[in-house]
């Protein structure tokens, strides 16, 4: 009977480890700072702890203290993993935090559900590849590119994104990945310029690298700045801008090789 009771009230170390892990997972999956703080505070409240948390790009710091006994407290710092967008995690962990609050889930249940969520499989890479290529082709259409240009952008994105997926699997530096992927895609799209395929080769070249633009980090950064988490927001903005510089460098190199001056 005593063992049972012990299982029901986890120690402060266990709670803080679990909460830090969830916070890092949310950060990695691309949640904005306000969402992370609210989810984690909500879960901590259920266990009877007060939490103060600061979220940075590379690490998360939190101090957790018991409501009934404030001398029982703990501060931990946890390193976050590099960004790998996953909105299923954001949405499921958000639901989990409300369920914890409303259904009074215990520690074991939360832990098992958390592990079930993070081990869930992503969408098949080949399907993603196809959909991204289709998206970029229709993006070319949005910028008034004609059908040959759209076809060219489809092919360019298909190869460029494939290169990116393969390089991500081999854990190459992400700046190198962005530059190489942009270079490959724009080199292929630039062929349309050389051989004059279709009436709008310049649009094909310009839109061929747009699938790489880090949209979600850009939105998150502005959102963080608006909500007052200025340091984190600026860190995200600088991160996204670095990636855009890499895209521009890749594109620039391709234009240099193909001998194109204007875009």
């Amino acid at each position: 009977m005593e063992i049972d009771l012990e299982q029901k009230s986890p120690s402060i170390e266990q709670v803080s480890d679990l909460l830090a892990e969830i916070a890092c997972q949310l950060m990695t999956s691309g949640a904005h700072t306000m969402r992370i703080i609210q989810n984690i505070s909500r879960m901590a409240k259920t266990f009877g702890y007060e939490i103060n948390i600061s979220v940075f790009q590379m690490s998360i710091m939190m101090t957790i203290a018991e409501y009934s006994n404030p001398t029982n407290r703990l501060t931990i710092v946890k390193k976050t993993k590099p960004l790998l967008l996953n909105f299923t995690h954001v949405s499921e962990l958000s639901t989990l935090s409300w369920d914890t609050y409303d259904k009074r889930l215990n520690y074991q249940e939360i832990q098992s559900r958390f592990h079930e969520i993070v081990t869930r499989k992503r969408m098949a890479p080949l399907l993603v590849l196809f959909l991204v290529s289709l998206a970029n082709a229709s993006f070319c259409g949005l910028f008034k590119g004609d059908f040959p240009s759209m076809g060219l952008v489809f092919g360019a994105t298909l190869i460029g994104f494939f290169v990116r997926q393969q390089m991500i699997n081999r854990r190459i530096n992400h700046l190198v990945i962005f530059t190489t992927s942009a270079f490959t895609a724009s080199l292929i799209a630039g062929l349309g310029y050389i051989f004059q395929w279709g009436g709008t080769p310049q649009i094909a070249l310009a839109t061929s690298v747009l699938y790489l633009i880090p949209g979600v980090p850009l939105i998150n950064s502005i959102l963080d700045i608006i909500e007052g988490h200025i340091l984190t927001g600026i860190a995200r903005l600088v991160n996204a801008s670095t990636l855009i510089v890499c895209i521009a460098i890749g594109l620039f190199l391709a234009m240099l090789i193909l001998g194109l001056e204007k875009l």
Binding site: T95, S138, L142
Partner: protein, 163 residues
């Protein structure tokens, strides 16, 4: 508004929906979220296209379109019980000023390479113009989409709650 304009607006919305689906799947959302973001992107992007065609400036048109996404996303978040940003962000992605963003950097590279004063003035103007356009569109997107959250904060954060 003639029939050709209507056809163009619908074509724009259709392409935006495909673009939203493709850019959404990179961030691995659930299936319902992908469908909702495609719908929202189609509505918002065709609205923006229409506004630009009627003579509005691109950042104001973007602001109106993204406010539309913000309001609708609160409604859909209530229906499918998931945080609004899971589908409102992907539906914003077709409107992200990516072209302006890397043209800013390219302008900077050209400015650095060029020694002719007159030509480099042109590149400087390009740089400032593209950079400011990027910034203002981004601000318009984010402020527009978070407008409902800023106006009704208590309601917006509770939509994922099931009970």
């Amino acid at each position: 508004m003639n029939s050709q304009m209507i056809a163009e607006v619908i074509y724009d919305g259709f392409l935006a929906a495909i673009a939203a689906v493709g850019f959404a799947v990179i961030s691995n959302p659930s299936r319902e979220a992908v469908l909702v973001s495609a719908l929202l992107a189609a509505i918002a992007h065709s609205l923006r296209f229409f506004l630009i065609k009627s003579g509005f400036d691109i950042s104001i048109a973007t602001f109106v379109a993204s406010s539309m996404i913000g309001l609708l996303s609160i409604l859909f978040a209530k229906i499918i019980h998931c945080p609004a940003e899971v589908f409102s962000f992907p539906s914003l992605l077709p409107m992200i000023p990516g072209l302006f963003a890397y043209r800013t950097i390219l302008g900077l590279i050209k400015f650095m390479q060029n020694t002719n004063v007159l030509k480099s003035q042109g590149y400087m103007i390009d740089f400032v113009h593209n950079g400011l356009t990027t910034l203002f569109i981004l601000l318009a997107l984010v402020i527009g989409v978070s407008l409902p959250v800023l106006i009704f904060p208590r309601y917006s954060f509770k939509v994922t709650r099931k009970y």
